[in-house]
């Protein structure tokens, strides 16, 4: 196998982890963000303050710091070594580290999404709730049929922004040794003493974000059949 093919296959391996982290983060943080948003606006004040505080801390500190902290949590909380945890769950250390990274990503993005949801819900005219009430719609009908579709339409552009940012943020996973796209490129640079792997990695990111942009623009167009 020539060096170029070898480099590309290494990058491909890294890219799989990038995509895996990307998908896990989105799939879990989109609903978790909704839960955090609902808890943060809870009428029970202590709960509301707690979750507003969590949003403040997570948005106010670097994601890399959060990844590192999560990886030390088992030690801080249970005085357990990562090796013990991994053997307890019957997974390898590198799989465990990937789980730590995922946890940090999911919570970080959920907090950003919670704030986007908040903006979305607060932008809905109070009259829509009142019309639903006067027409005797149930609470769940009001939420799922009337309010949520309008919220989704409004939050697609800011959500797209976060989704694109997430693609690039995945490179932070290498702080715990996860060999994602950028770190696999970096390894190849050291191994072959050429710079091309970095260019290839850049191209991978660009193509990935390009595809996402196209898909998200399509979604936006699909929702533009009406005006609010």
């Amino acid at each position: 196998m020539g060096p170029t093919l070898d480099i590309l296959s290494q990058l491909g391996n890294g890219f799989l982890y990038t995509i895996l982290l990307f998908v896990i983060t989105l799939v879990l943080s989109i609903p978790l963000g909704m839960i955090i948003y609902l808890l943060a606006k809870s009428k029970f004040k202590p709960l509301s303050y707690l979750f507003k505080g969590i949003i403040w801390v997570i948005r106010g500190t670097p994601l890399m710091l959060q990844i590192l902290l999560v990886s030390f949590l088992p030690m801080l909380l249970f005085n357990a070594m990562n090796k013990e945890i991994a053997s307890f769950f019957n997974i390898t250390i590198s799989q465990l580290l990937f789980v730590f990274v995922s946890i940090a990503f999911v919570f970080n993005y959920a907090c950003y999404f919670a704030e986007i949801y908040r903006a979305g819900f607060e932008s809905i005219n109070k009259g829509q709730y009142e019309a639903a009430k006067v027409l005797n719609l149930t609470k769940s009908e009001t939420f799922f049929k009337i309010i949520l579709p309008q919220v989704i339409k409004r939050i697609v552009p800011p959500m797209s922004n976060e989704v694109i940012t997430l693609v690039k943020d995945t490179s932070l996973a290498q702080i715990l040794g996860v060999v994602e796209l950028l770190s696999s490129a970096n390894h190849a640079v050291n191994q072959y003493v050429v710079l091309t792997p970095l260019l290839y990695a850049g191209a991978f990111y660009l193509i990935f974000t390009f595809i996402l942009t196209v898909l998200l623009t399509k979604l936006e167009k699909k929702l533009s059949y009406y005006e609010v």
Partner: protein, 255 residues
């Protein structure tokens, strides 16, 4: 005995009394118009009747039966800015509350049976909605979205949507505030047609010429009380009350 009675209705926001022991009566099939300056409780009264805000004390009686406004099954409300659901077509705006009504009536059935009945009901809802759209003259707009309609057309859809649930009393909040003079005349005509069909209508407005056109009975609200009431002649043309004279005077100067 009157068809619709409000007895000693009081509504406070904190210490501020918005509706002060207010009482009024309306007959079936009449158009009643409430006028008065802003901040005297007109909109609050409509919001209380439609269950959008709780009342502090008092009764609301329709056809001899006391009703609980917070459950709102008796009033239809056409909002000042219509509040149509933007993501749904004109037809869907009417069928959604209808379907919701049917769904609630089926609560006791099992899920699969419910789905079966609802499927057949969807057809029925569409038929009812089309009939309503025909009545308001917008059948050809059934598949348009609210943003594609003019203000007057949106209002007609809002009326059809409210009528779908067969309310005992139809309430309008400032129906002419967003309309041009020609559309205002059309709406007056439509409201009078609804009266012919037996609907009881309650309207809140600042628009005196519109009130003169449609009202059977006029109420003048001041500081949360009905200061005076009577027919158009008694209240809007030759009022005896100084406050009403002042109100009409300043209203004429504005227009």
């Amino acid at each position: 005995m009157s068809y619709f009675e409000i007895k000693n209705l009081t509504k406070k926001y904190g210490d501020q009394i918005v509706l002060d022991d207010l009482s009024m009566e309306m007959n079936k099939g009449e158009i009643s118009v409430i006028i008065g300056e802003s901040g005297n409780g007109k909109t609050t009264l409509l919001r209380c009747l439609n269950g959008l805000t709780d009342i502090n004390s008092g009764f609301v009686i329709i056809d001899g039966k006391e009703i609980d406004c917070s459950k709102n099954n008796n009033f239809g409300l056409i909002f000042q800015n219509f509040n149509l659901f933007p993501q749904y077509t004109v037809l869907e705006n009417i069928t959604i509350p209808l379907m919701s009504m049917y769904k609630r009536s089926l609560n006791k059935l099992s899920f699969t049976k419910k789905q079966k009945v609802l499927k057949s009901k969807q057809q029925e809802c569409n038929t009812i909605s089309f009939e309503l759209l025909e009545k308001i003259g917008l059948k050809d707009k059934a598949n348009n979205y609210p943003f594609e309609l003019s203000g007057g057309q949106c209002q007609r859809v809002a009326i059809a949507r409210a009528l779908a649930l067969k309310p005992s009393i139809l309430c309008f909040d400032e129906p002419t505030s967003a309309l041009d003079p020609k559309t205002t005349i059309e709406i007056s005509k439509l409201i009078k047609e609804l009266k012919q069909e037996g609907y009881t209508v309650l309207i809140i407005t600042h628009d005196i010429s519109f009130a003169k056109d449609v009202a059977d009975k006029v109420y003048f609200l001041k500081k949360g009380k009905v200061l005076d009431n009577g027919n158009v002649e008694e209240i809007l043309i030759n009022p005896k009350n100084e406050d009403i004279k002042n109100f009409l005077g300043s209203n004429n100067k504005e227009s």
